[in-house]
Symmetry: C2
Subunit: 240 residues, 2 copies
């Protein structure tokens, strides 16, 4: 009865629901993992919780699973976005993986004045987020948004969403979050070179932004992303 493989699927999940597999899923389950009819896996789709399912048909290019029973309720993350300036490939992958593990609701790559990346492979980053959710036992996969300039993101910022802005140079301790209320938030992590002076001035002037320090040492951007999500989850999220 053990079912260690966890897969994110798009289909609705309900008892007896048949789930057709695409070629990639069939390759993974039947060629890589060598599952046979009757084998069991865990599924989630971000809406219906986690389900135990059974292999009904196994083929080279497709197959079918059948959902049997719900094994865990759907759990949504708190409403926190992680906005970050993409770095080199491996560290960008890392940030996306960690954001999914730590319960970010959305992941938004942003272009800043000192960001190197001109473009991202959104589909690849989305696959990283999905794999992280599969491996960490989550029932939710955060959406990875398209790369946007920071100025555009701030220009149509959603009403009521607050911003925790991680700044090395002018910021208060993370305990400032303790006086804040829960609700819709976003975390913004700058690129390796920090924010430019005009960016910093704009951020500090935003009424919905709080500048927060991440300690006396300089952190790499990937470390800062994990530390900031940890502090936010502890103060305002679902870790308390």
């Amino acid at each position: 009865m053990s079912a260690k493989i966890r897969l994110h699927v798009e289909h609705p999940l309900a008892e007896g629901q048949p789930l057709p597999l695409d070629r990639e899923q069939a390759h993974y389950l039947f060629t890589v993992m060598r599952l046979e009819p009757g084998a069991r896996v865990l599924l989630f789709n971000g809406r219906d919780g986690e389900w135990l399912a059974e292999v009904s048909e196994a083929g080279r290019r497709g197959g079918t699973l059948t959902a049997l029973a719900r094994t865990a309720p759907q759990r949504m993350p708190p409403d926190v976005w992680l906005c970050f300036a993409p770095l080199k490939k491996a560290r960008t992958d890392f940030i996306v993986e960690k954001a999914a593990e730590l319960g970010a609701a959305r992941i938004l790559p942003v272009q800043t004045d000192f960001t190197n990346a001109e473009r991202i492979r959104r589909d690849r980053l989305q696959a990283h987020a999905r794999e992280a959710a599969e491996q960490c036992g989550g029932t939710y996969v955060p959406e990875v948004a398209e790369l946007r300039p920071l100025a555009a993101l701030l220009g149509d910022w959603p009403r009521g969403r607050r911003l925790m802005f991680c700044d090395e140079s002018r910021a208060g301790p993370a305990s400032v979050l303790e006086g804040e209320s829960r609700g819709a938030w976003a975390i913004l992590i700058g690129p390796e070179g920090g924010f430019s002076q005009p960016e910093r001035a704009r951020l500090l002037a935003l009424p919905f932004a709080r500048a927060v320090s991440l300690g006396p040492r300089i952190l790499r951007a990937d470390t800062a992303a994990v530390a900031a999500l940890t502090l936010w989850q502890q103060a305002l999220g679902d870790w308390a």
Copy 2:
């Protein structure tokens, strides 16, 4: 006058102090970075703060730097150890890098019942810690200890040092740290498979240990290390 290269050295640092370079340092500075006599670098040795230094002699197999002036005071991290069960190579490297960035005083790889690693490359991990300190602007390099069995480490645990033990199954929220006092601490992160039942029972019975939860999602061990150091620094370290 800009000096972006930062190097950890073993020698004492004082005004006018000449510093002989070994072959590896000379190769890095003069062949890789193409520095010439008169070029400036920043140095630290973990005791005397950060110093501006000048290249006095540059050779293929050696050379000399001369310390000119102190540019930052020595800053020691709080007295917190990070104990962790080594993982696959890349994630172990990552934990060591992040521990140095986040201000761990010592890094102790431990063998647990479910640890895969039989041995570690201590010299390679120590080099990672040094590089992280060089890059993050620190003046201190945490020592990486030899791999030891967890039972042996707990068997001669230093008197007065408390232990934050990160456990998925039976633990209180991180806010339990808020009632604790500062001083000598260690953080213990388990391997991917968690602690064994006997290990968990022993840890929970230790009078100096506090079991702390890292939220409702399952975190990979490398994520857990960064999150735990963040929470500790925020509650009991030098981030407040």
